[in-house]
Amino acid sequence: MNIPSELKNKWDLVSAKYEKKRAAMLPILRLSQDHFGYITPEVELAVAEYLETTPVHVREVVTFYELFRRKKEGKNEIRFCRTLSCSLLGAEDLLAYLKQKLGVEPGQTTPDEKFTLHTAECLGACEIAPMMQVNGDFHGPLTKEKIDEILKNL
């Protein structure tokens, strides 16, 4: 597959920072995901060739790390925390509310492709528990009303 030159340039720029070529794996996968929306098999094959490894060793990395997507997702990514402090403060009920509101299970995208819901383990924001991350921003402490408000503004 031909990687668009603008993306390839980014690959080259970031690879130059590392002593070993293979070390650029995570950053170039992330750049590719930002570009295409998710990691396609074509990307895996191209990355394998670029890093001089085999495609299965790229797929290993893609399936190991949670933040790499293997299919197209909605416009807004919601990661809802369900680890200890958030659970202590009612995350489970709020998650049920959110699932019902969006009409999806974790891992799924809404039919209008506006939201994809994921459950997440501790995101490092226990001081605002219960919380969720939307497109990189942390939101909390959540209530049903707060959730409504956040989704409305997206």
Partner: protein
């Protein structure tokens, strides 16, 4: 050299050794899955845990370096508990596939449970479901539920074949070994991953459901696929002839020989055994009609007698295949060249070449070219005599086109081909699995192969046929007069060692299980 105590016994090992290597030297067995002497250390199965005095927790033997004065205990409560505990984890999600799994009978989960487990399982939940019975290549089947994720197969493809087809996807107890979609495991050595898989996750498609392993009879041998001479084991089904359509050979496995093939063999050799049980010449023929063995030998002897009496040895050619053993070749040379004066003997006709690499596959697709050369089975005329021959005796050599002057053709060999169909006299020969003998590999290494089972039908080893022929020719059998009456293949080899300089000093005993070099190595080009 550090000294350590293993279960109370003092052992000395080279510096830098691991506890596992020390255990091997001491002859102490510990269970392990992921460790393999031919692969890098993974240390992930945690089965080889042993107690090391002064260490707060059990240590894995495969990756713990020996220190002077170390005290290792493999039978202590800590070691036993750690082992049984690890085994329970590995078996927790393992499917109860034994009744349908080919690995049963040679499975390290079964074996280790009987030796080190024997606990009542407390797993009482639903096991993780994964892909089952997945074809990942022409010769390998993958069952991810059975896989214990020891990563031996992944390391083999990375470190031995450098082809990197296999990987471990996902995380935690949902991990699965897999191949990249659209690709397949077919790197000419794929079959080895089945050998090294300790469980029934990777199984051989060729062997699938063919025969239970406890019905197999093993026999040490040497692969005849090329001049590499990889050491192998023939696993035959002799006790259940109603299984597998009456085939005898069920599968070939590599046999460890650090000087030749280490622990591996190629797929071409591994799956190239069908000729042993298929399309064999089992009965002698004369003029296309089945006859008794003796009759065919007599007719051939009669032809030779006529030719010798009329002094037309130069019109006769003998072509020998380099698939024949040293013993076969020597007996043929002794009879035809020494006794009958036929100079036109050559081994180069019909030799096949093929794919080669810098690992285990040689271009010369026969096992004994170096032997033929050491035994001087090449005529000075470099085989050009073939065109002028009126009589040809082929020992396992197929000639697609026959010389125009040919009036007599005899074929002595194992499988049907165009030459055997054209021959007026056909005598059945024994394949390598059906006789004792030796091959000389490309490096001049002489290696023994054993008789796995008796020859099919009326077939006999070629050295034996040479003896029968010599008897029919009226050559005095008395050994003192140089007769050709050998009682065994070993007897032939003893004479080779006495009379053929490159083989000096060798004997079946000295060859052992892993062979020995010729005194003057005769290296072949391929």
């Amino acid at each position: 050299m550090p000294k350590l105590l293993i279960d109370g016994r003092e052992i000395e090992v080279p510096a830098g050794s691991t506890v596992m290597q020390a255990l091997e030297k001491a002859g102490v067995k510990v269970p392990y899955y992921c460790w393999h002497p031919g692969l890098s250390i993974a240390g992930n199965c945690r089965m080889c845990l042993v107690e090391v005095e002064k260490a707060p927790k059990p240590m894995i033997a495969c990756d713990t370096k020996v220190a002077e004065g170390m005290v290792v205990k493999t039978q202590s409560e800590m070691a036993k508990k750690a082992r049984a505990g690890t085994l329970e984890f590995i078996l927790a999600n393992h499917p109860l596939d034994c009744p349908v799994c080919d690995q049963a009978g040679e499975c390290e989960l079964q074996n280790f449970y009987m030796n080190y487990g024997l606990y009542d399982s407390k797993f009482d939940d639903e096991k993780v479901k994964k892909h089952k019975a997945e074809i990942i290549g022409p010769t390998v089947m993958l069952d991810s539920e059975r896989c214990i994720l020891c990563s031996r197969c992944v390391r083999f493809c990375d470190e031995i074949t450098h082809t990197g087809e296999l990987g471990i996807m996902n995380r935690g107890d949902h991990e699965e070994i897999g191949i990249y979609p659209g690709k397949e495991l077919d790197n000419k050595y794929s079959g080895n991953v089945v050998d090294i898989c300790p469980v029934g996750a990777l199984t051989d498609r060729d062997f699938r459901f063919k025969c239970r392993v406890w019905y197999l009879t093993p026999s040490d041998s040497v692969c005849p696929g090329c001049s590499m001479g990889c050491n192998i084991r023939i696993d035959s089904n002799l006790s259940r002839p109603h299984h597998a359509k009456g085939e005898r050979v069920m599968r070939l496995k590599p046999r460890e020989n650090q000087e030749v093939n280490k622990w591996w063999m190629c797929d071409e050799g591994r799956y190239g055994y069908k000729f042993i049980d298929h399309d064999r010449i089992v009965k002698a023929k004369s003029g296309g009609v089945d006859v008794e063995f003796d009759q065919a030998v007599s007719e051939l002897a009669a032809f030779l007698n006529v030719a010798i009496k009329s002094g037309s040895q130069s019109k006769i050619g003998v072509l020998v295949s380099t698939h024949l053993s040293n013993e076969d070749l020597y007996a043929i040379r002794k009879l035809f060249k020494e006794k009958l004066g036929i100079e036109n003997i050559d081994y180069r006709a019909g030799q096949k070449t093929g794919y080669s690499d810098d690992f285990l596959m040689k271009a010369d697709k026969s096992p004994n070219t170096a032997g033929a050369r050491a035994l001087e089975m090449n005529s000075p005329a470099a085989g050009k005599f073939i065109e002028k021959c009126e009589g040809l005796i082929l020992f396992g050599v197929d000639l697609p086109s026959l010389p125009k002057n040919l009036r007599f053709l005899a074929y002595i060999g194992t499988n049907n081909n165009s030459a055997s169909k054209a021959a007026s006299i056909v005598i059945p020969g024994a394949v390598y699995a059906e006789k004792e003998g030796t091959f000389t590999n490309f490096e001049g290494r002489v290696q023994r192969f054993r008789e796995a089972f008796a020859p099919l039908g009326d077939a006999k080893p070629e050295w034996q046929i040479a003896c029968d022929l010599s008897a029919k020719l009226g050559i005095k059998p008395a050994l003192s007069a140089g007769g050709l009456e050998f009682q065994s293949a070993e007897a032939v080899f003893r004479e080779i060692a006495k009379t053929v300089p490159p083989f000096e000093g060798l004997s079946y005993e000295s060859l052992g299980n892993t062979g020995k070099q010729l005194k003057q190595p005769v290296t072949s080009r391929s």
